[in-house]
Every structure is written in C-alpha cells, then in structure tokens.
C-alpha cells in the first residue's frame, strides 16, 4: 500500500473514531446493547424484537406492568424505539395511578420514559393508534404524568375517587 493510501485511510479512521467518541460522550450509553443499538440506528439497521414487543403488549393489556416492562426492555435493548418507550411510560402511568393518590416514583420513571419517546420520535411527534389506550399521543401521557406529580387543590376533592384510569 502506498503512502497516500495509508494517509487517507488514517485520516478516515481518525475522523470516524473521533466521531464515535463524540457520539458516546453525547449519548452516554449505559450498556453494550445501547452502544451497538445506537450505532445500528445511525446506519438505519436497528429493529425491535417483535416477539418480545408482542409479549410486552400482552402483559400490558393484562395489567402485568412489571412483566410488560421487562419484555418491552428486551424488545428495545438499545432504547432507540419511540413506540416501545411510549408503552413503557404508559405502563408506569397505569401502575402508578390510584383513586386516592398517585405513586410519584413510578410517575417520575414514566416521565423519563415519555421524554425518551418524544426525543426518539421524528419531529418529536408520537401518536400510537391503539384503541385500548385512553391517551394516544405522547403529549397527553406527559401532561397526565406531570399533573399527577403536582400537588393541587383538586387533589383534595373527594370526587376524584370517581375518576377513571385512562
């Protein structure tokens, strides 16, 4: 190989390696799956595990939220799929919802998940056409989770026991 080719390859390697490091600093992946999934998403080759996603939806519809999240996490190990993150956020909402009070910790996890979903959705717009859901857009879920974490006068309204979970 002549010197010019070696130099050109070297420059390409350095630029690609530096870009990878910049991406890692920006994304802060926590697992190897997140690294590989993120890189495949950049190349447009990332797909969720459909079987695990179906399992997650089945658990979600049976109100088995912990099991649903485990399956959904398996379906999207790199945390790159907006729809999966939407369902994870929704599972936190449904599990944390209560007639008397809402679970702040679960709602906080839900908020983090819905923020991830919004960040991953093209243009930040995410609508899931699922007739079983009371809220089909990410904005509705986010607003509901935020409202649930706020302490307001309406929280002391005894009529709230008649409200229903969405």
């Amino acid at each position: 190989m002549d010197d010019t080719a070696t130099r050109a390859i070297g420059l390409g390697v350095v630029v690609a390696y530096a870009a990878l490091i910049g991406w890692l600093y920006a994304r802060q992946p926590q697992t190897l799956a997140q690294v590989t999934g993120g890189l495949s998403a950049i190349a447009g080759a990332y797909t969720v595990d459909e079987q695990a996603f179906s399992d997650g939806l089945r658990f979600f519809r049976n109100d088995q939220f912990v099991e649903a999240r485990l399956s959904l996490a398996r379906a999207d190990p790199a945390v790159r799929d907006a729809r999966t993150q939407f369902y994870i956020a929704y599972s936190y909402y449904r599990q944390g919802w209560g007639r008397m009070y809402h679970d702040d910790r679960l709602y906080a996890e839900g908020l983090a998940a819905i923020d991830r979903a919004i960040a991953l959705a093209p243009g930040g717009r995410l609508v899931v056409n699922d007739p079983g859901l009371g809220m089909q857009s990410a904005e509705e879920v986010k607003a509901e989770l935020e409202a649930g974490r706020r302490l307001e006068a309406s929280d002391f309204n005894p009529m709230r026991v008649f409200t229903s979970r969405k």
Binding site: T6, R7, I9
Partner: protein
C-alpha cells in the same frame, strides 16, 4: 517514523486515551469529557513535549509536505493534546480540596518542567514518575481512605476524617475496575509520547571539536 504510525497508530492510540480516560464506572457508567481547565494545561503539556524534542513538529507539519500529510500531522497533534488533557483529568481527584491541590500541582509542575527544558528521555521519565505518583495518590491513597469498610474502627476513623476536613477529603469511590482502566490509560499515553516523531538531542560527544572547545569543561 513510518507513515502508518503517524497517520493511524498514534492518533488512534491518543483517541483511545481520550475515550478510556473519560470512563467513570460506578452505579451508572459515565463518560466525562476533559474540563476547559485541563484542556488549557493540556496545551502546556503539548508545549513541554515539543520543547523537549519528544515531538518534532517539523516532521508532522511543514509547508513542504503534501496537504494530506499535513492533515495527518494536525490530527496527531490534536489527539496528542486531547489525550494529554484527558490523562491529566483522569489523575485529578473528582472533588474537594484534593482536586484543587492536584489542579494547581499539575499547572506548577508543567510550568517548572517547561522552564527546566528537559530532553526527550528525561521528559518521558519525569512524566512517568509524576503520573505514577498522582495515580498512587488518587487511586490507592485517597480511594483507600474513602472506601467504605465493614470494620467499625475504619468507619469511625472515616467519619472523624470526614468531620475534621468538613467533607473536603473524602471522595466518591468508583468501581474497582476504574483504577485498572486508569492505569492502562496512563500507560497508553506514555507509550504514545515515547513513540512520537522526535528530535534526537545531540550529545556532547557528537558535537564538532571546534564547537566543544568554546564550551566550559563538563
């Protein structure tokens, strides 16, 4: 100095230093970029490396070289700077008084090394000793002192030290593997500095006889 070493091996090695040096493994894994302060003292480190002859800038950046070769040279110098800054950031403790002391120590040390103008061999030796000492102080002494321990005596001693220093000495202790990665990072950086295209400083014996006569006796 081969072309592959200049264009591929050394920049990749310094980028690896940049990547590994930023790794902080605890409950969550974080990649910490070098702070503006260490980037500044990183410039000083590059200057010291150039002044000592450990890097001959003329061999990697020159008007006579082709554009592509100069781009490789520029990439090498940029990655040397970033790798050096990240190595310093890695060796500076994360918080409290030790962070301040180490930050000032590295600045003073680099200024004094620049003033002493050592040759390449002495610079590499000096960097190895300094970085080795800083590594031992941070990863062995400070982390050993800060590590939670099962024994009641150690816990009491730790609380006393923490109270006496107003929490300024005790550090957050990362996962033990961080120390091994740090050691590898420092070693890689030193190997990289050693492999840079360098000037050989001429020894007294190699100088012409006529010039030697003008020098004071050794």
């Amino acid at each position: 100095m081969t072309v592959a070493r200049e264009a591929i091996v050394l920049p990749s090695l310094f980028l690896t230093v940049l990547l590994l040096g930023g790794l902080r493994i605890a409950d969550t894994t974080m990649l910490v970029p070098p702070s503006p302060y260490v980037l500044l003292i990183g410039v000083l480190l590059v200057r010291v490396v150039v002044r000592s002859g450990a890097l001959a800038p003329g061999q990697v950046l020159a008007a006579a070289r082709p554009t592509l070769a100069n781009l490789n040279g520029a990439a090498l110098i940029a990655t040397l700077w970033l790798g050096g800054a990240q190595t310093l950031a890695l060796l500076i403790p994360e918080s409290g008084v030790p962070r301040l002391v180490f930050s000032v120590f590295f600045l003073v040390l680099l200024l004094s090394t620049a003033a002493a103008s050592p040759d390449r061999e002495r610079l590499v030796r000096s960097l190895a000793v300094t970085f080795g000492a800083a590594y031992v102080l941070k990863f062995v002494v400070l982390h050993g002192l800060s590590a939670p321990d099962a024994s009641a005596f150690k816990r009491v001693l730790l609380e006393l030290v923490d109270a006496a220093t107003a929490g300024a000495l005790i550090q957050d202790v990362p996962h033990p593997i961080t120390a091994y990665i740090a050691l590898l990072t420092v070693a890689l950086y030193l190997v990289g500095v050693f492999l840079l295209p360098h000037h050989e400083r001429r020894s007294r014996e190699a100088l012409p006889e006529t010039f030697l006569r003008t020098l004071p006796p050794a």
